[in-house]
């Protein structure tokens, strides 16, 4: 059972890390810019938050299948395939939540930074710092979206024991087999994990509260 938990964590942490690397800069762009292109991309990011995991799983599986455009990589039913699917699910979530947090930073604050000599990159770094509470929320939302996701990882991972079986797919498997005990035990671990991760993130937020805008 612990191997399944470890696989879940490994895949989700890698996926969230990649999603943060891609989603935070994208979210900053969406939150700081004002243009027609930005508006269209923001609609896409917001819509992407509701992306059905089974659709992501289907598209990823087709792309990675032997006849698909990425078939030569031979990744289907491997952990990297699960990471790819989870990144696709998490990036819009991280980007949209980051964008909302960045947009809430007053423009005048950016103007103030600019008036002291800030470049656009400095401005973005300032917004990141000012919106860090929202950034923590973005990470939490991204993690929540992938750790509890089942459809996509099942389709691209295949639920192979000792390799691509994760907590959610194992719970489905045990339930189908009528083994409610292990299914409930894994569910409890999954819930505990989500609580622990969110407690840590909440602690990060609290530690910054002394410097929060009232």
């Amino acid at each position: 059972m612990w191997a399944v938990v470890a696989t879940s964590l490994r895949v989700s942490v890698v996926a969230v890390a990649i999603a943060v690397l891609a989603g935070v800069p994208a979210g900053l762009y969406l939150g700081m810019r004002r243009s027609v292109v930005r508006n269209a991309l923001l609609v896409l990011a917001n819509a992407g938050m509701g992306l059905p995991p089974v659709v992501v799983g289907l598209v990823t599986a087709m792309a990675l299948s032997r006849r698909g455009p990425l078939g030569s990589l031979d990744l289907l039913y491997t952990r990297p395939a699960m990471v790819i699917a989870q990144v696709i699910i998490a990036v819009p979530v991280v980007a949209a939540v980051t964008a909302a947090a960045a947009a809430s930073v007053p423009f005048e604050l950016r103007l103030q930074a600019r008036s002291l000599g800030a470049s656009q990159l400095h401005e973005a770094m300032l917004v990141l710092k000012e919106a860090r509470m929202g950034l923590v929320a973005a990470v939490a939302a991204g993690f929540g979206a992938v750790i509890s996701e089942v459809g996509a990882v099942m389709m691209v991972g295949g639920n192979l024991e000792g390799s691509t079986r994760v907590m959610t797919t194992a719970i489905v498997q045990y339930t189908r087999m009528g083994r409610y005990g292990p299914a409930l035990a894994l569910s409890a671990v999954l819930l505990a994990l989500i609580v622990v991760v969110n407690t840590v993130l909440a602690q990060v937020q609290r530690s910054a509260e002394r410097f929060e805008r009232s």
């Binding site: 007053p106 005048e108 103007l111 930074a113 008036s115 002291l116 000599g117 410097f211 805008r213």
Partner: protein, 369 residues
């Protein structure tokens, strides 16, 4: 004195509506120019353009003899600004004051010294470790000024820096800031809609209306003889009367105006055409028949009250003294005692030293827009 920052032919429109059309504005070293005007006059837009924070549609900005634009970051490094709200960043007071220094690559040890120095200058020595977001309005504005001063800018732009403070803090800071700004060799632009604040801080004043500068010059001249009827009204003055210097005796000029003579201490010559300015605060009213004892107040004009305006704690009395129109500021008790009302006759008394004369400008010397 050559200007540190000079902007000419500046134009800006938003959605096809022209909001700025300024022929020239210049900031000189060690001088504070107060940009005065009502809300919506374009003051903040002009400040943003001078601060290279916004691009004008047309015009030229020259900083230390070099034409610059908003894209020129090295030029932006020479300018610092503080706004009506202090807009402090999350973090400590020290981190806020150090922000501009870090952007300029100032080493950490020097940064600490300059932060301490800037905080000491605004009266907050030792406040480095406090959270910036738990300060009072006055304290936050001091930190904002320290943050701007720390980078030792050539040009300091202050956009209504005291507008959101309560009156007691506001006047204390106005006096302190004015003193501070004169210690440095910076050129300062101080935007405000409050003429009393401008009078405290400014060496020079430019009055804006509808995106244009309608009056400008040394503060004591603009506040007495603004050279524009609208600016005069905005500053609480009546339109300056015009007259001719009839004679000059021992430095005191007698100016013949329509229906009244006005005495002024001024460096003028007989025959010159001048305009006359007197601040309402300098005019004292008596009953028309009062026997006012001899004093240094040379001007005693019989006037009739044409209007009486309630302006908070005082009243503004508009007077017609022959062809000379004056305003006086009086208390409620004075209004009662003198039975002031439109049509009432009074004696207006003011010193020759309280009168400012401005030579009539020829057409080609018209005030800059």
């Amino acid at each position: 004195m050559s200007a540190v920052l000079e902007a000419t032919q500046i134009r800006k429109s938003y959605r096809r509506r022209e909001v700025l059309d300024v022929e020239r504005v210049a900031l000189a070293p060690e001088r504070t120019l107060a940009l005065l005007g009502p809300s919506g006059a374009g003051k903040s837009t002009l400040l943003a353009i001078l601060g290279l924070l916004e691009r004008p549609d047309a015009g030229r900005i020259v900083l230390d003899g070099r034409e610059v634009t908003a894209a020129d970051r090295s030029a932006r490094m020479q300018v610092a600004a503080a706004f009506q709200r202090p807009w402090l960043f999350k973090g400590t007071v020290g981190a806020n004051v150090a922000y501009g220094l870090a952007l300029r690559g100032v080493p950490a040890s020097e940064r600490r010294e300059r932060v301490a120095e800037a905080l000491a200058r605004v009266g907050l020595a030792g406040w480095e470790e406090r959270s910036a977001l738990t300060l009072s309005g006055g304290e936050a504005q001091r930190v904002a000024l320290a943050r701007a001063l720390a980078v030792r800018p050539r040009v300091l732009l202050l956009d209504e820096p005291l507008a959101s403070l309560d009156p007691v803090v506001k006047w204390r800071l106005a006096r302190e800031f004015a003193e501070l700004l004169h210690e440095d060799g910076m050129a300062v632009l101080w935007v405000t809609h409050d003429q009393d604040e401008a009078a405290v801080v400014a060496d020079e004043v430019a009055v804006m209306r509808d995106g244009r500068i309608v009056a400008s010059g040394p503060a004591d001249e603009v506040f007495l003889v603004p050279g524009d009827p609208w600016a005069a009204g905005f500053l609480g003055l009546e339109e300056p009367a015009a007259g001719v210097v009839a004679e000059v005796t021992d430095g005191v000029a007698r100016v013949a105006c329509e229906g009244a003579d006005v005495f002024a201490v001024a460096d003028v010559r007989p025959g010159e055409r001048v305009r006359i300015g007197v601040r309402p605060e300098d005019v004292v009213l008596f009953e028309a028949t009062a026997d006012v004892p001899a004093s240094s107040a040379r001007n005693r004009l019989r006037c009739s009250v044409t209007a009486l305006e309630h302006t908070g704690t005082t009243f503004r009395v508009v007077l017609a003294c022959g062809g000379v129109r004056l305003a006086a500021r009086v208390s409620k008790a004075a209004v009662r005692e003198l039975s002031l009302a439109p049509g009432a006759q009074v004696l207006a008394v003011f010193k020759a030293t309280a009168v400012r004369l401005a030579r009539e400008r020829s057409e080609s010397e018209g005030a800059s827009r």
